[in-house]
């Protein structure tokens, strides 16, 4: 460790802040270039927020979703501590324990907070949720939901986006009776088109989730449930609010940095102050990307290259986000422009009976957008094509069906197929051996070598011998 290494203070030990620490340590393992202090307001190590629905479902223990954190001499982690002020002129971060940290560079990785919609009875004026109401943003929320959502109990999930659908699936896995309310005309409105959403809703209904799309909640009645705008009341011991998030930008705003939905950053992830950076859900880049983990991790890698000077040329130019629903038994991927106009060619397969739907839009030979429900193989292929901006194969249908078109290379054998690939024995050679008296597989092997490689052609040779001899092949020891 180098005592004169530059000091970088990272505010936030969530998915992006801890990732940045890991990326910095990987590039500068001895702390020769950068001394890092990471501030986390939650107690305990960084964990993988994306997997919280899995904790809810009982797939993971909280211990299981811990994230890697570097164990280097130049990294200091202070948990259970919140930053209360950022003074960009003095380059100082003030903490809630009364201490302060001076920095060479400061990184805001403060993430986002759950947004509570303005529904009566959901949250108090100061934003505190009312009894029975909880978000699903951190481990404490997760513990609250687990305490409230006993097996057999009714629970309402408010918000039919990705997190709401994952939470609903996880709750059904706990044996909870779930109602899901979405105010948009269809679920996952931002990620998928209506036909896909209809099929997805049917899949959820089949799992026992009552899906209420295009319904606005009017009131949470603690001890009873959620009242909808049509007067119906959905029974609920708990209300899990998954209705979006807001970037945690208070610190930046108070420091006078330019903030819109998030803290504005350029391609070097620098804010309005040249020594302050922002990454992850609290940042707002022209290329978008907030709300998903992959862009935040890509930002962490870019910023680590810049802060350590190992990649001064690194830039973040925007995300090509792929949304992947993590719900047991349901494979859903959506990416890009899922309602592309007619400047794109679009192939669609709808199979409501089979619960499957695929839509691929191609513009200029590249993937413009896709929705893939129940097509796991092609979904991963298309996501990789999209991610790399790579050309789409000419056979779009084959791509969607996850199957290579016929025409794979086979050597030209002039109508005489190769029976034993390992030894390149054509059918004609086996026939010649038979004509010379070879009647068993062993005779054929001795004469032609067929069957002596991987053994995959044993059945074929037996079949040929049976056909020519008009008998079953002689047994071999």
């Amino acid at each position: 460790m180098n005592p004169s290494a530059r000091h970088v203070v990272v505010i936030g030990n969530g998915m992006t802040g801890s990732r940045l620490a890991d990326e910095v340590a990987r590039r500068d393992p001895g702390g020769e270039r950068v001394r890092l202090t990471v501030i986390g307001d939650e107690n305990g190590p960084a964990y993988n927020r994306v997997l919280l629905p899995g904790v809810l479902a009982g797939i993971y223990t909280p211990e299981d979703i811990r994230l890697p954190f570097p164990d280097g001499p130049a990294v200091t982690l202070r948990t259970g501590t919140a930053a209360t002020a950022l003074d960009t002129a003095r380059r100082r971060v003030t903490l809630d324990d009364g201490t302060a940290l001076d920095y060479d560079e400061c990184v805001l990785a403060t993430g986002a907070r759950a947004a509570f919609p303005p529904v009566d009875g959901v949250a108090a004026a100061d934003g505190t949720p009312e009894p029975g109401v909880t978000a699903l943003r951190d481990l404490a929320d997760c513990r609250r939901v687990m305490a409230l959502a006993r097996p057999g109990a009714p629970v309402v999930v408010l918000g039919g986006g990705v997190l709401g659908l994952e939470a609903a699936r996880a709750l059904t896995a706990r044996g909870v009776r779930v109602s899901l309310v979405e105010s948009s005309p269809w679920i996952m409105r931002r990620q998928i088109d209506r036909p896909a959403a209809d099929i997805l809703a049917d899949r959820y209904t089949a799992l026992g989730v009552a899906v209420h799309s295009w319904r606005v909640a009017s009131r949470w009645i603690s001890g009873t449930g959620l009242e909808l705008d049509d007067g119906r009341v959905l029974a609920g011991d708990a209300l899990v609010v998954t209705a979006g998030v807001r970037g945690a930008t208070d610190l930046a705003r108070a420091a006078g940095l330019p903030v819109e939905h998030g803290v504005l950053v350029d391609d070097t992830l620098t804010t309005g102050d040249p020594r302050v950076h922002a990454i992850g859900d609290c940042a707002q880049h022209r290329g978008g990307g907030a709300g998903l983990v992959q862009p935040g991790w890509e930002q962490a890698a870019v910023l680590a290259g810049l802060l350590t000077g190992t990649a001064p040329e690194a830039r973040y130019t925007g995300a090509r986000p792929v949304t992947r629903l993590k719900a047991e038994g349901i494979d859903l991927t959506s990416l890009g422009d899922t309602e592309a106009d007619d400047t794109a060619e679009t192939v669609t397969i709808a199979d409501p009976y089979g619960g499957r739907y695929a839509k691929l839009s191609v513009r200029d030979g590249r993937v413009a957008g896709a929705v893939l429900l129940g097509f796991p193989e092609s979904a991963s292929t298309i996501a990789q094509l999209y991610d790399g901006g790579d050309p789409v194969p000419a056979d779009r249908l084959a791509l969607l069906l996850g199957r290579a078109a016929p025409g794979a290379h086979t050597p030209d054998t002039g109508g005489d197929p190769v029976v034993c690939r390992c030894n390149a024995v054509p059918r004609s050679a086996i026939e010649a051996a038979w004509l010379d008296g070879a009647r068993t597989r062993v005779d054929v092997a001795a004469a032609t070598r067929a069957t002596t490689g991987c053994g995959g052609c044993v059945r074929d040779v037996d079949t040929l011998l049976t056909g020519w001899s008009g008998t079953t092949p002689a047994p071999v020891g």
Binding site: I59, I65, P68, R324, K326, E377, P393, H409, R449, C454
Partner: protein, 693 residues
């Protein structure tokens, strides 16, 4: 009739050699547990090499670099080599002379080569081409189990498992008779290509996981994640037989299946299904091959596979386990007896004072006179003729201008040497660049031992006398040692005597061969090492304890990292390399066998038809494949089942068709394995020269 084993791969199929109708020796399969009476084309045709038209039968020497190689006699050749070596050592010190060996050499030759370097030359500069083969798996195996034996169980055990995962291995193409052991288990094949093995798996109810090249670590971590998340881990085994799970798990926690899918392209659902298959109570094996190992992060990737195996409770139990499929004929024995830069016989470490004292005692030298660890293979090749680097190289059983990464660079380094001496039986591409070529025997002309894929020591038997003028490698080393002032009895040319000495030198080491004798081998005893004198051999390692002092296996905390070179607009495709059925390694042998050469006469490149078309190429066209390091010519072979972003080239061809003209010499920080399997490339048509457009 003589019964011996095949000259090529580590499966070491047993074969009978006897004269055919034309009087020349011919091979046919013999029953043996590994090959079960099978043989591939290479084995069937192997005897043809004994009468190769350009077989070397006389030493060759060139007066200077501009002169051609000219025949000479043995005394002149050996006197010349010894004289030049002595002069270089006197002027520049012992490390000015380097030795490079091979994984095809017998145990006796490997041992003698290491001893020759340390005792007769006193150089630390010795390594071998096995560094390009098993080194990542060896390093990870040592890290996890405290011992590295490719398969720590007999191959026949595999047939009884419910599931076998093959990571980066394509035995249907490269070791066909091995497939006979895989007909009952459900196969999970991890390979970016729809290889013959992957196709076999799919046709028989198995799975094919096709990760983007260079992302295997993420896939293995994703499988561990999926195993844990589905409650499949063996917690009791983890608690009782391992250490380090808690520290290793966060590395996998970051790779939930959907995240692994994003990086690897393998569907999350397939990752979960594969994890379930591996947790089948009927037992499972995880086997790795070069596809997952030959990366600049190969050691960590193998550790990730071993972590998965440990989490599922597979190693050290009957009916399940982890293993590495060794490639070269004696890739196992060749890595145990001192050809490696950091190693002494018996798989001992050269920096261990006790090991040095023991081996020096057997050799009759002062332990302080033994050199320390030297450069690894690519670093050694890269230093040749450079300031501070070796000025002479003795090369046995290898053809690095075809098989090493970035062949252009390797050829330049060889050219910068003061003296290159190559012992071979055919004029390989490397031999043709030598100052002195020494003609040596080949497999059917010599006795010795090999250690096969299972760690079982096998007898190689001479079936025919060598052609007049040809000497064994042991005779060559003896002749040079004596000329370098060594006592005549210190470097025996008798394989039996060398085996006995090897046994003594390895006694008490991890790979203990002291109980291996020709008599026991001839009696058919199954001598899996460690086979100590007076003790039983060891078919299955780790059943009671792993080889670390606490008896436990160790999880290694590993993270995925991107390949050393990623694609970009200038080089938008990934090239990966491998072997095909009809050829072996650098092709120096198999390209000289008429039947094999006729079947696959020239390099090809497998390309998706769309990718080929975008680059102006049709099936059968000659293409130029270009990387930042060099260019390869190859004929396009359409593969509709190929990844669009990946092309494949076999590496058996030389000159402008050498796949290793492209490859990246970025090295693994632990094993020093080069990144053979991921190079960023582009494709273009190879227009005929002088034609009109």
């Amino acid at each position: 009739m003589t019964t011996t084993h095949c000259p090529y791969c580590a499966l070491q199929c047993a074969m009978h050699l006897e004269p055919g109708a034309d009087g020349r020796l011919a091979a046919r399969p013999a029953p043996f547990p590994t090959n079960r009476g099978g043989l591939c084309r290479k084995g069937w045709t192997s005897a043809d090499l004994l009468t190769a038209p350009d077989r070397l039968t006389t030493p060759l020497l060139r007066a200077d670099r501009s002169a051609p190689l000219a025949p000479t006699d043995w005394d002149t050749a050996l006197d010349h080599v010894a004289g030049r070596l002595a002069a270089l050592r006197a002027e520049h010190g012992p490390d000015s002379v380097a030795v490079f060996g091979g994984g095809g050499l017998t145990n006796e030759k490997s041992y003698q080569l290491g001893k020759f370097a340390r005792v007769a030359l006193r150089t630390a500069q010795i390594d071998y081409n096995g560094r390009f083969c098993m080194s990542s798996a060896a390093a990870a195996g040592n890290r996890a189990f405290g011992l590295d034996r490719g398969l720590p169980f007999p191959l026949t055990d595999v047939a009884g498992a419910a599931t076998v995962l093959l990571a980066g291995a394509n035995p249907a193409e490269t070791m066909p008779p091995l497939m006979g052991h895989l007909s009952a288990p459900r196969l999970v094949v991890v390979d970016p290509r729809r290889s013959a093995t992957a196709a076999y798996a799919l046709a028989n109810g198995g799975l094919h996981l096709a990760p983007r090249p260079g992302t295997d670590t993420a896939l293995a971590l994703g499988l561990l994640h999926a195993a844990r998340a589905q409650g499949l881990c063996d917690d009791a085994y983890i608690a009782e037989r391992t250490t380090g799970f808690a520290a290793a798990w966060p590395g996998a926690a970051a790779w939930w299946p959907e995240q692994a899918e994003h990086t690897t392209g393998v569907p999350a659902a397939l990752i979960r299904e594969a994890a379930r298959a591996l947790a089948d109570p009927g037992g499972a094996y995880i086997l790795t091959g070069r596809g997952t190992e030959q990366h600049a992060k190969g050691t960590d990737t193998v550790s990730a596979w071993i972590n998965l195996a440990l989490a599922l409770g597979l190693p050290g139990r009957r009916g399940s386990g982890y293993g590495c499929l060794t490639g070269q004929g004696n890739g196992q024995g060749g890595r145990e007896h001192g050809q490696k830069a950091d190693q002494l016989p018996g798989y001992r470490r050269i920096d261990d004072p006790a090991a040095r004292a023991h081996v020096a005692g057997v050799w009759g030298v002062d332990p302080d006179d033994l050199p320390g660890p030297g450069r690894s293979a690519y670093e050694l090749l890269d230093a040749l003729g450079a300031p501070g680097g070796p000025r002479a190289l003795l090369l046995f059983g290898s053809n690095p201008v075809v098989s090493a990464p970035d062949t252009g660079r390797v050829a330049d380094r060889l050219a910068a040497l003061d003296l290159l001496v190559v012992a071979d039986f055919v004029p390989s591409e490397t031999a043709r660049r030598a100052d002195v070529v020494l003609p040596v025997t080949q497999w059917a002309e010599e006795d010795g031992t090999m250690t096969g894929i299972e760690g079982r020591v096998l007898r190689r038997r001479a079936a025919a006398p060598p052609p007049p003028g040809v000497r064994t490698d042991l005779e060559v080393l003896h002749g040079l040692a004596v000329r370098l002032g060594q006592p005549a009895d210190r470097f025996s040319a008798d394989p039996g005597a060398v085996l006995a000495e090897l046994g003594a030198a390895s006694a008490g080491g991890p790979a203990d061969y002291s109980g291996v004798t020709p008599e026991r081998l001839d009696s058919g005893e199954e001598l899996y090492w460690p086979a100590p004198a007076g003790g039983a051999p060891t078919p299955r390692l780790f059943l009671d304890a792993f080889a670390h002092p606490d008896g436990r296996a160790r999880f290694a905390p590993v993270a995925h990292r991107p390949p050393a070179e990623t694609t970009d607009p200038a080089y938008p495709l990934i090239a990966t390399t491998g072997r095909i059925m009809g050829h072996y390694q650098s092709g120096a042998q198999t390209r000289r066998i008429g039947e094999l050469a006729a079947a696959e006469p020239a390099a090809h490149v497998e390309v998706h038809p769309d990718t080929a078309a975008r680059n102006g190429l049709g099936d059968g066209d000659w293409a130029l494949v270009e990387s930042r390091r060099g260019t390869t010519r190859a004929r396009v072979r359409h593969r509709a089942d190929a990844r669009l972003d990946t092309v494949f080239l076999p590496f058996h061809y030389a000159g402008d068709q050498a796949a290793n003209n492209l490859t990246n010499p970025a090295l693994d920080p632990v094993s020093r394995m080069p990144e053979f399997k991921v190079s960023a490339v582009r494709l273009r048509p190879d227009r005929p020269q002088g034609g009109t457009a």
